[in-house]
Symmetry: C2
């Protein structure tokens, strides 16, 4: 197993370090030969090479069997709307060049953390849904985009083809078949032409999955119902921009945002990353919570290598660390807490 490590910015390197410890331990226990190759991305890559996703990084990622990715983003770029190179471009370029068209974002709860949810217990206990967000199309990449000559007008293009929608939707249907058999297609078909193509395409596919119940909901309604009745959802499919907003909204529901992993899947390469950001205030302090990245490594064993036992063992040991309170400060609830690196050692 050749794993590319792309730690990125902020706390990225620290949390990736812990995931590597755990992956190595799994390799030893199960007798897998695992090699790692590291490369820069994001602000770290701009600082080193001038580019947020240099070719040298792409070569390492594209040649790997799976990518473990940390986080991207540096506040020094956020409030400069005229900056020519931005770390996020690295993320977008990486998604595009690796063909990572589906972002899989599960939301579930940890019994020991559910009390941290901003939602009332009865709304959130037992929540278990998963978003399939389209990741390489839509307004993120559509052309034309830019300004008029005088700079007084700006425009972006949202564009989707039936093929792009179909391949994402099929992943959603298949996931629903293995889960509670409910698929929600999230769109804005009452306003947007792209959304009408989404809805139409999903309607055409539905008869191929007769065991899956399909519901169509507008993005604004989902933004409400995710908070009101999150348990109503099973699998949700949606376009890139809606997915960006809704998966982040969903991430606060469980009370354990710092623990949520994600996968980005494509035709060949698969990438795994925590959903949290680069958290620059915490960078270098050995205080960041590594569990989301470690759980992303669990997803890697499951989705990239189809090694369920290895994945399960990592999940189990994360649950054990929560049960025994061997955790970082952010989830210690005033009890004893441990450093990022200590938690990584304990898990490994």
């Amino acid at each position: 197993m050749n794993i590319a490590l792309l730690p990125g910015d902020g706390i990225g390197p620290e949390v990736i370090d812990q995931a590597v410890k755990v992956v190595k331990a799994i390799g030893q226990k199960f007798g897998h030969k695992i090699t790692f190759k590291e490369a820069v991305v994001g602000a770290a890559a701009i600082d080193a090479t001038g580019l947020p996703y240099p070719d040298s990084t792409h070569e390492i990622a594209a040649a790997s069997d799976a990518v473990l990715f940390g986080a991207i983003g540096d506040p020094k770029y956020d409030n400069d709307p005229k900056a020519k190179v931005r770390p996020e471009q690295g993320l977008l370029l990486m998604r595009q060049k690796l063909g990572l068209f589906a972002n899989v974002r599960p939301t579930f709860t940890f019994p020991s953390l559910v009390h941290k949810s901003p939602l009332k217990l009865d709304r959130v206990e037992g929540v278990d849904f998963v978003f399939f967000r389209e990741l390489t199309g839509g307004i993120y990449f559509g052309e034309p985009r830019g300004r008029n000559e005088q700079g007084t007008k700006a425009f972006d293009t949202n564009v989707y083809s039936k093929e792009e929608i179909t391949r994402l939707a099929r992943m959603g249907f298949e996931a629903a078949q293995k889960r509670r058999k409910l698929l929600t297609c999230v769109d804005k078909a009452n306003v947007m032409a792209t959304s009408r193509l989404w809805r139409e395409t999903v309607q055409e596919l539905a008869p191929e999955y007769p065991d899956v119940k399909v519901e169509y909901e507008f993005v604004d309604a989902v933004a409400m119902r995710l908070i009101q009745w999150p348990k109503a959802y099973d699998v949700l499919i949606t376009e890139n921009l809606f997915g960006d907003i809704l998966t982040d909204e969903a991430s606060v529901i469980s009370g354990s945002m710092g623990l949520m992993p994600s996968a980005s899947l494509g035709t060949s390469i698969k990438l795994f990353e925590p959903i949290h950001g680069s958290y620059p205030q915490a960078a270098g302090k050995d205080i960041a919570n590594p569990l989301a990245t470690v759980l992303s490594a669990a997803m890697m064993f499951d989705y990239a290598f189809d090694l369920k036992e290895e994945a399960q063992l990592i999940s189990d040991v994360v649950n054990q660390s929560l049960a025994e309170g061997y955790v970082t400060e952010d989830i210690a609830d005033g009890g004893p807490s441990y450093k990022t690196s200590q938690v990584g050692d304990w898990l490994a």
Copy 2:
């Protein structure tokens, strides 16, 4: 005062009826001469005229001093992506033809209802923020939009001019000056060209409002923080599509979605409406909660006629109905409940 009544679909006519009773009572008490003209819009207008916003309706609305609007939408149009005429087109056309470029959506709590929030009490008690959503631009109206010839590709255009952003942003700055002096500009400037123009334009305006603190946040971050720390916000400004999603998300926070009013402001005409939808399942049953529409009438006295005392009296009487439990079933908490028309009579 010439008030145009556009009841629309579903429960629209019933809730508008109650607002009319209250407005008439105010007119009587304060000696205002108030006349009403009614017109069709939405599915009701399609059924009557074939068009969702016929010219006859526009003439009545455009000639009025203020518009009271109910709700639009009929499920028979929702799952037919190929329908040529949709009720929502009436809403969009109305906004565009009346020049209603700013949708003002307050979120606040009613002490007697805050326990209904899906959020924990400490997160939501005392929440008080207001969205200014741009309403006549962006991806809702941008051209080109549609399909390629074979129908296998769809596209929408998001477009904003500096002028559109400026007039909306100024409203937000001015509102912030009268409130807690915090303005949050919500965009996706790390991805979208339109968002970068939003951020740039707001940055240029900020020095004219030195007493207002301006924060810039990405739409995905706001989707999270609205749920985590809704009290952190005061005034938020944003584009049409982000506003659609975030204001609906915000509407569930207070526990009193059925009570939230809104205003849509333009260069001349002003329109007032409840934020809830047409709720077709309840139509004709005399059970819909009329309070959001009545509070929209309060906003009308305030924003359209600058009559603060009249507005305050309506708010007070709504609070009294809540305190005394003279309410519809949806908020009666198992106690005695009253019909839509009874609540209207009581308030009047």
